[in-house]
Symmetry: C2
Subunit: 342 residues, 2 copies
Amino acid sequence: MRIVVDVMGGDRGPEVVVEGARLALKDYSGISELYLVGNEADIAAARKKTGLQDKRVQIVHASQVLTMEDKPVEGLRKKKDCSLLRAVELLKDGRGQALISTGNTGGMVAASTIRLRTLEGVERPAIAAVIPSGHGHFILLDAGATPECKPIYLAQFAIMGNLYCQQILGTKNPRVGILSNGSEEIKGTELTREAHRLCKGLDLNYIGYVEGHDLFDDKVEVVVMDGFLGNIVLKTCESMGRAVGRFLKRELNATPIRRLGKVLAGNALLALKTKLDPDIYGGAPLLGLNGTVIKAHGSANARAIKNAIRVATETIQHHLNESIVREISKANANEMVGAETK
Amino acid sequence: MRIVVDVMGGDRGPEVVVEGARLALKDYSGISELYLVGNEADIAAARKKTGLQDKRVQIVHASQVLTMEDKPVEGLRKKKDCSLLRAVELLKDGRGQALISTGNTGGMVAASTIRLRTLEGVERPAIAAVIPSGHGHFILLDAGATPECKPIYLAQFAIMGNLYCQQILGTKNPRVGILSNGSEEIKGTELTREAHRLCKGLDLNYIGYVEGHDLFDDKVEVVVMDGFLGNIVLKTCESMGRAVGRFLKRELNATPIRRLGKVLAGNALLALKTKLDPDIYGGAPLLGLNGTVIKAHGSANARAIKNAIRVATETIQHHLNESIVREISKANANEMVGAETK
């Protein structure tokens, strides 16, 4: 497998990303080539520090970086030689099969959608974020790739999320729902009501509308929504998780007795931190494109980068994109969904 | 002040509600009359158990209950003698000034909107939910009263939320923002972009778009959105809060050492529970109606009922509704906002 890693643009600098690549190369023998894309000098320095000397590594120099502050479309227009675009090109020309980036999310969506195009039959891409819940996790999609949606997009997100959940997360027959403000069919918006009608005609375990209070109650594995709502829900959860962590830390350090309690309860609190920490899930795939594109968190550590590379290899091994094309084609041929696309 | 309490329809039964009323009567001497509305026999039994013998109490019998399972509009049509409708009628005929109910939220919104009508100049009502954040709290509105909104509704929610935050929560010059999927003006939807334009013309501390990750970071005090999004965000936060609580409880009880740690860290964990627990905020007001209507949580305990009654008395004392009419009228006269309503 040929993996492309955009080394630049993350919050923690190139070294963390290169270290993640080193860990992945050590553990995943299925990788035949690993492209590190970014500033040559920075990559050389990071390799030296991390001791990365694997023969499968190839360096592709890019003189510019799309930063978190850059506006996606404008930034990409100005920075033609940024690492992100160079990385996407490696996928486009077939040298790479999967791309991992920690950089600007909007830029990643724009660059890969424009250069790679959507898979045959797929209308729009979706970011699938994996969120830890009570006992397991659920997939939220779209987490922000397609802010304004038509009903058919949501139906296709349901198909893609279902396949990702089955093949990569290993959930059998995942429950798929559309996020709404109530469980009755009359609830929701025009968008959700029509998407609900379409999803009922699909060949998956569609359970109808789910509500906000179902998300962390292990009632649903794939939660479908437009990218405007998904971006807000995902960021709200992240923000609340961080606030809980900060609050506990402050409270637990407030007195010596509490500090002792913290030490004794240590593993329980560590377990909570892990729950609130998206790193173990290794990044969110951008589903529906010609190529495998994985967004790692901007503040991802080396372990998270390694996990994102693992997700990329599994996505290739399972031929996820072929399954998506097949299932979307079946759904589009089905009258209920097909009617929308005509 | 004349307070109306709908005793029926909550998850915990009439006794808890009556006990909350007893606590409120004990502490708030400004209450001149307190109507308990519901099944006479149930109320009599609850009064006996709680020892409520205050002379300011009046009983209004209602033979039916709108339950959580009832569909709001259909339920109200079938149950003409339900406690909720009887309670709303007390506000309509002027005997009561404020209503507190733990029952069916949709039913409460429907009954009070239809019978009481919106305040002069106000297009639609909004539920204002107060959510604990890192160091303080923020108001989220609309939490579900008006799922589908026009831009002018959001601008009016901003005005009402700002006044509520100042007068009842005591925040000086609260920062008001519209919830969106990015901070740049080009982000959001047609709805948020036009609402953003309107809010810029308002006489309040409007800070523009806020994102999900700003909510728990003490960056904003009043967060405006349509009721579809608000319902989802509120329930997602509640669901995540409960999941964190359950998870910690399970982990902290897993070994004897952790259990000891839990005991020593006790107050810190209790503080977290309080943070995640909406009871202390005493219910969410339904803003914009002729009358003060407060929704207490379905599972509210006696303390939460008491707090909801406190919020009701403060809302009356501060003449919140008069302020809303005045500020909305000013905004409607202003060309920028007024243009929309014509």
